[in-house]
Amino acid sequence: MRKALRRRIALACACLVAAPISSFAQASSNTMEVRPLAAFLDKAATESFQRDFANAVALAFPVPFSIGEPTETFEPARFEKAAIFLAQARGTPQPASPPSNASPNPPAPSLGDLGFPAAQTQGNAQEQARLDRRTHMLKIHQRLGLITAVPMLATVLSGGFAGGRSTSSSSRDLHAALGSVTTGLYFTTAYYSIFAPRVPGTHARGPIRLHKTLAWIHGPGMILTPILGAMAFDQKSRGEKVHGIASAHGAVAVVTAGAFGLAIASVSFKF
């Protein structure tokens, strides 16, 4: 009875001890070698411990111990094999590099340790595609806006020669043609801004707010100006003096061009 109890204790100790011991098992030049904590154990203690351990393992695991020749005395090779077997049975990968006397490092911190919500750490290809499309459209908006500014300025300047008594029809035609080009470019520019994908949850902040606010001035202005211009053109072509609401064409055009220029400046320069 006592013998059986001692065997059980020996078995339990063997299993517990096998955990740290097994991590010292390594492959080296086709032979398996165990470094039995020799750094801090004296030789006698080591041998004594190994003998006891081997005996305990032999009692607990008779089959694996038949790997070597069955002998009654302790052999280091059998001790090594037992340790390796226990390591494999536990599913513990054997270290590829020689173990050092230093204890293993705790794991380096991982992203999971930082506590970010999953939504903040996972990439979203769809969202990226939306941003790419938005940027692409706004780049076109930016280019076309700058291009539009050229005929717009030319239209305003040519307007000075299109009105009054001493104007020829050719200067009016030129002014009308420039105005038409400006209008076409302007609405194409606006299209790329209006239909650029919106990013949910974002609110306009900074200079872009002024840029967008100014659109409420030059947008209606760019609808009104050509209409008033056409009316003025007709009146002038009939030999009449420009009158009525058409007489506001010049003022509306100047305000529209001014708002448009300011809109460009608002996102181009830092105020």
């Binding site: 955990a19 230093a102 794991p107 992203l111 506590g115 970010f116 940027t135």
Partner: protein, 178 residues
């Protein structure tokens, strides 16, 4: 004797995995600077999170910050930045470094940084940081000499002029020892 040995061996595994010290990022201000012929822009974030684990005289630090959290004061510019840096696909900037614990005694730390950003990883060697330790708190500040090219980011342009390649990132952090 054998009993003592067994006791010692049984104690070894838990001791082997114990960290000597841990650091947690308490407060941070990270700001990138972008230069354009017509603009000087700063984007600031206070949303970084970080952790440091020290063992055997070496400390492993991990700091991460969502790209979305950088605020330049212009929502349009921030969205462009997010697009240019592929921030929806790679939402975090992750910085890893290993610093010897002994370096904490010096007022200046030279750290080798590994930065993951925009789907690319770049290494910055010996980046100097100023360090002040008061009790359990450490205040760290410095500038990471990042560039757009390091992360294969096409320089955004305005009015046909591209921004400069250099985007230095100013770091100001308060760490708390646990």
């Amino acid at each position: 004797m054998n009993a003592k040995l067994l006791s010692l061996l049984l104690l070894l595994p838990p001791l082997g995995h114990a960290a000597d010290a841990q650091w947690v990022l308490q407060q941070s201000t990270l700001s990138y600077h972008v230069s354009h012929p017509l603009h000087q822009t700063e984007g600031v974030s206070h949303a970084a999170k970080g952790k440091g684990v020290c063992h055997n005289g070496q400390c492993d630090f991990l700091i991460a910050v969502p790209i979305k959290s950088f605020d330049s004061g212009d929502s349009n510019r921030d969205l462009h930045m997010l697009q240019a840096t592929r921030g929806a696909q790679f939402p975090l900037v992750v910085v890893r470094t290993r610093v010897p614990e002994a370096a904490f005694k010096s007022p200046t730390i030279h750290a080798d940084l590994e930065i993951e950003f925009a789907g690319q990883t770049a290494q910055y060697k010996q980046v100097p940081f100023q360090l002040t330790i008061q009790g359990n708190q450490a205040h760290l500040s410095g500038t990471i000499p990042a560039t757009l090219a390091d992360f294969k980011i096409d320089p955004p342009s305005l009015l046909g002029m591209a921004v400069k390649n250099d985007i230095p990132v100013r770091v100001d952090m308060k760490w708390q020892a646990q």
